[in-house]
Amino acid sequence: MLELATKRKTAVSTGISVPVLAGLVAAAVFLAVGSLSSGTFAQQTVSGLSQGAIFGSLALALVLIYRATEVINFAQGEMAMATTYIAYQLTLWHLSYWLAFFLTLLIAFVLGVVVQVVVIRPVQHKSVIAVVIITVGLFILIDGLVTWKWGADLKFMPAPFGNTVYHAGGVAISRQDIGVFAVSILSVGVLWVLFQFTKLGLAMRAAALRPAAASLVGVRVDAMLAVGWGLAAVLGAVAGLMTEPTQFLQPTMMQAVLLYAFAAAVLGGLESPAGAVIGGLALGVFLNLFGQYGKVGGYYLGTSELRLPIAFVILLIVLLLKPTGLFGRKQVRRV
């Protein structure tokens, strides 16, 4: 029985094909060789990975909600921004950074659950477009509330990782980049363990994939969906807190990050959690390297105002070539 369950589980969770895997390995080798041969390349790769980890964790939050509710949560970035402001408020009250960090994650979980129960659940099965519009409404509402409470000017939090820069063979790597990468990937890892190896995780996956069947075997589907929103909000809070050291606090800080997370999620396939994270990392590294080396006749293509369009050109290309993303499963429809 257990064997059957694991078999079904892997059948659902992996959608990776051989060419995609080969491409990923090739990309990893390329990055490793490039980093060993050029200091600039290594630096850009490392900071790309650290940004990409943020994209990946927010993308994973989007995927969690997409799997559970079948909508894109447009308010994900603003929820992350709001929780980061809560952390800021906690540090103003003389809490240490890491105490504020974990307290914020807890608050974020509660907020996520509350949002699902109060505004999403009532319309969830009535109209997809209504759910989408409600997340858009949340976006506007949260933006207004935060600006009202804290103002639109830049705020600064204590630096979580200090300003140390390590030098290794002519390559300067900041401690902050490493810290951001480590925290983001660690939280993703914790979540993966939760989903893959606990009873709660199993119940949540069941509730998301086969709600009717799950409720028949005693899973409380509604509660599981709410927990899913809570966990997504926690991931968002991590992404927000890890964005803060480079962007500082302002109400618009997560808007661009959310867009990159969209691109990352589509890149990996909206159904695939692993794909979202890998998509985020790939996007972060690619944008950095393209900004550094992408030029035609001395004319840089990857300048800052074109970063976002480039991310979306990638998104469009992926959608057109492989509409289900790199890790998505092919949708087969019976006629």
Binding site: V119, I129, A130, V132, L138, G144, W148, L315, L316
Partner: protein, 317 residues
């Protein structure tokens, strides 16, 4: 059916009479606001043709509005074209753009199409920053002369009326039936001889043309200035909100949707307690959520419910 047509014409005449009377009682500033309603009306109608009737969601109509708006400004700024002439030109150009977007969109549906059009809404406003010589960069461009509030009022409501009649004629006939069949079941549509690529792409083109005309008027409403940040993602979302409040797949709620996104931000900027500068977002967001909770199918959905209630009462009483 004829009774429904009668109700529809009464509603249309009532709106028309209100629109004709309003300029006599309003000052210039409020005329401008009511013109905005007409502009949103056109854009929502365009979105409705695509999303409500053909089942293809778009979060990128701000991008089409921007293309239309810049068409007007560039024609007027560089070639001193008559502003009225630029409106159909903007429609024609965005029609072609819509077809071009519609072709790749054939491969996408549902949430993936939503994200692809979202990508469009985010990317297109960056173009003027890159091609700043031609399109004026972040400061934008201005038309060679501005228009009065009354001019804008008359032109935008005339356009809205033409757009509505054209849309109604389009949707009630053979093409509208094909659109709806594509929305309801692609398999059944193809089996009945409806060509999916042709109708889906065509719907994209028509919808974009509506957005383009709305965009032209939108630019004229802001003193002829076209600036990239005015056409940001928030505009696309606003159009989508208007469409959802109006109710997709029906023409009944359009005015309500347009009034909702045209007037609510104006009204809600003067709420007590929160203050004028933040009240707009707080109240707008809150009301959007509440309306969707109460009316998940929008105003048209409410009307449909009322209609069935009225129909069923005589039999029970």
């Amino acid at each position: 059916m004829s009774r429904r047509l009668l109700t529809a014409s009464i509603a249309a005449v009532a709106v028309a009479v209100a629109v004709v009377i309003l300029p006599f009682v309003l000052d210039g500033y409020h005329e401008g606001i009511v013109s905005d309603v007409a502009i949103y009306f056109i854009a929502i109608l365009g979105l409705n043709i695509l999303t409500g009737y053909t089942g293809q969601i778009s979060i990128g109509h701000g991008a089409f509005m921007m293309i239309g708006g810049y068409t007007t400004v560039v024609m007027s700024h560089d070639h001193h074209t008559n502003l009225i002439v630029t409106l159909p030109l903007a429609g024609a150009i965005t029609f072609v753009c819509g077809l071009l977007v519609g072709v790749p969109a054939l491969r996408l549906s549902g949430v993936y199409l939503a994200l692809a059009t979202f990508a469009l809404a985010v990317s297109v406003p960056q173009l003027p920053l890159k091609f700043s010589k031609f399109l004026g960069g972040s400061n934008g461009l201005q038309t060679d002369h501005t228009v009065s509030h009354l001019w804008l009022y008359v032109v935008s409501w005339s356009c809205a009326a033409i757009a509505f009649v054209a849309g109604w004629l389009l949707l009630r006939g053979r093409i509208g039936r094909a659109f709806r069949s594509v929305r309801d079941s692609e398999v059944a549509a193809v089996s009945s001889g409806v060509s999916l690529p042709i109708y889906k792409t065509f719907a994209f083109g028509v919808s974009a043309a509506y957005a383009g005309v709305a965009g032209s008027l939108f630019v004229l409403a802001t003193n002829g200035f076209a600036q990239p940040n005015e056409f940001g993602i928030l505009l696309s979302l606003k159009i989508l909100i208007g469409g959802a409040v109006a109710g997709l797949g029906s023409l009944w709620g359009l005015v309500v949707g347009a009034v909702f996104i045209g007037l609510l931000p104006q009204i809600s900027s003067s709420v007590p307690f929160v203050g004028p500068s933040h009240g707009q977002d707080v109240v707008f967001g809150l009301v959007v959520i509440l309306v969707m909770l109460v009316l998940p199918n929008g105003f048209a959905g409410l009307l449909a419910r009322v209609r069935t209630a009225i129909k069923s009462t005589p039999e029970t009483s």
